[in-house]
Symmetry: C2
Subunit: 333 residues, 2 copies
């Protein structure tokens, strides 16, 4: 982030030979090792780095803003989440500052500093980094899905475990005998990981042998899914499974395309259920695939209520909202 | 917008018996009739209404924020526009405040007031209201597409006229003999209206009889398109046109669905070209329909450069960026 030649936090980090996060902590009064604090303060003096003075003089005054951090606003799930967060904040008399972080920790930290220094009323974060350690306790933080090291951060998510169970039971109800599972997890732990737990639990409950692809990298997504399908193809060309629960609608859509290219009919040969409930154009009722839908407006409202709650001590550390199944053409019903 | 029992601008408007916009103008020092000013000031005193003091004391200090107003973040065009605006602002050292206005003037005015009072560095607006009169000259405003009464507002848009011409010529190149046009315009004038001008110009240049549906209301969208198609059906069941340029990808997608339900094959019987360049899930390369694509990242960057430009007097009042055709399965190539 350029600030017309003025030294930046990055310059301070380079000068002090410490990580950017350490500088951020010193500036925000979060405890760090004494030697680090001394180094950072020396670098700040040497470079004449100015902490954003816009807000420094306003310590007692709230800005009526809440910062939302999402990876991007192009993915329809994140975009829709941002939309409903803005609506709920506005209803409660607050404005939204939006950070599309690209999952870059440095950018997330810059927005957290801005929120802290401008006396923002709080931060709602959907990140792929552990930002817990970069938020002073005085700045209310609510996490969507992600588990932060910061023990006092309340978390909001869909009931992913129940969603995993629901997907398997729906596939069985639609006539499947052997439902498989495909997932590409984030390396950072979060509630979404429980989709797999739900799948495994339902398999066990119904005496089914679990068959799944579960990796931490979505590099070569198409190759990985293609290999998984080929690996489970029998000598007669048929598949060892007749239904697949896929961890997101996007991955389910890719899986459908691969299966169709291999000559399988959907839903006749293989039935597919995704997760999220993404609709075409965001404004039609048409789902891309049959899906376990997340209640995005309710999730957003819950995050906003929590970040603005007066007594943070009363907040549960985890709040799960119910998901629901919707038919989207890739199952029999 | 609720502010925990504190009187709002709306209360002031009710007390003074004037429109909300008038209160906003008085607060922001935009000239109004003397009698209105007196009424509003009396109401402010009577209700003890506090203009946002967060920023009132900071008149000389910029907040390093720019406000973006869009109708919503669910429509993928708006969401993507917001995404690239945020990126370009961040590159330039600014944070984005996002307003999803729902095309509600009152909400737009509240955000404009917040921007003005918090010493925001500017506003980028994609609205369906004429907000030109609600912005003090000191607050830089850049309009995407919409024409405001405010004469000093620079406007950024795609070259919609060239896009209209390009759509017709592409349909002819793909073998169409009679391209039709379908549009649902906003009642507020904007650059997008020129898609129709481009269509009409290309028809004239190629000696074609224009055939179009052009209305100001998108109520009963499906019925209106269905009636238009039926009206141009000949006794033998064939259509009077063999290609349609539709004003947005969303409307083109709806038109494709209607034609398929009526038994027409796309692109064999009718070829369709939309406008916008919306991709499925925002992250795939798959278009919903063949389309005249708007250059969203470049449009966003241009808006940001203009809103932050030092010498506003040097800005052109209108900047048009080139569009491009992309095949999306609903044309022969």
């Amino acid at each position: 982030m350029k600030r017309q030649n003025a030294p930046t936090m990055k310059d301070v980090a380079r000068e002090a030979k410490v990580a950017l996060g350490t500088v951020s902590k010193v500036i925000n009064g979060i405890p760090v090792g004494e030697e680090y604090r001394v180094k950072v303060e020396a670098a700040i003096r040497k470079l004449n780095y100015e902490v954003n003075t816009y807000a420094r003089g306003l310590k007692m005054q709230k800005s009526n803003t809440v910062t939302l951090i999402i990876p991007d606003a192009v993915n329809p799930f994140y975009a829709s989440f941002a939309h409903y967060i803005e609506s709920a904040l506005y209803e409660a008399g607050h404005f939204m500052v939006l950070c599309c972080s690209g999952a870059i920790l440095e950018k997330e930290i810059e927005y957290l500093n801005m929120a802290s220094q401008n006396q923002s009323d709080g931060v709602i974060a959907l990140t792929y980094n552990d930002i817990g350690g970069h938020v002073p306790e005085s700045l209310p933080l609510v996490s969507f899905d992600r588990i932060y090291s910061n023990a006092f951060t309340p978390r909001v998510a869909s009931d992913n475990f129940a969603g995993g169970v629901m997907a398997v039971e729906k596939l069985l109800e639609c006539g499947c005998a052997h439902p498989a599972f495909i997932t590409f997890n984030s390396p950072y732990p979060g509630e979404a990981d429980k989709r797999k737990d739900g799948y495994l639990h339902a398999c066990s409950a119904h005496n089914l042998e679990p068959v799944y692809l579960s990796t931490l990298s979505d590099a070569n997504l198409v190759c990985q899914i293609t290999d998984f399908i080929r690996h489970h193809r029998r000598a007669d060309g048929s598949l060892a499974f007749d239904g697949i629960f896929v961890n997101t609608d996007y991955n389910a859509y890719i899986t459908c395309n691969i299966l169709r290219e291999m000559g399988f009919r959907i839903p006749d040969d293989v039935q597919i259920i995704g997760f999220d409930g993404i609709t075409k154009f965001g404004i039609t009722k048409d789902l891309y695939v049959s899906s376990i839908c997340q209640p995005i407006p309710e999730l957003a409202r819950t995050c906003v209520n929590m970040v603005l709650a007066k007594d943070k001590g009363l907040l549960p550390s985890l709040t799960l909202l119910p998901v629901s199944y919707r038919y989207g053409g890739t199952t029999r019903k």
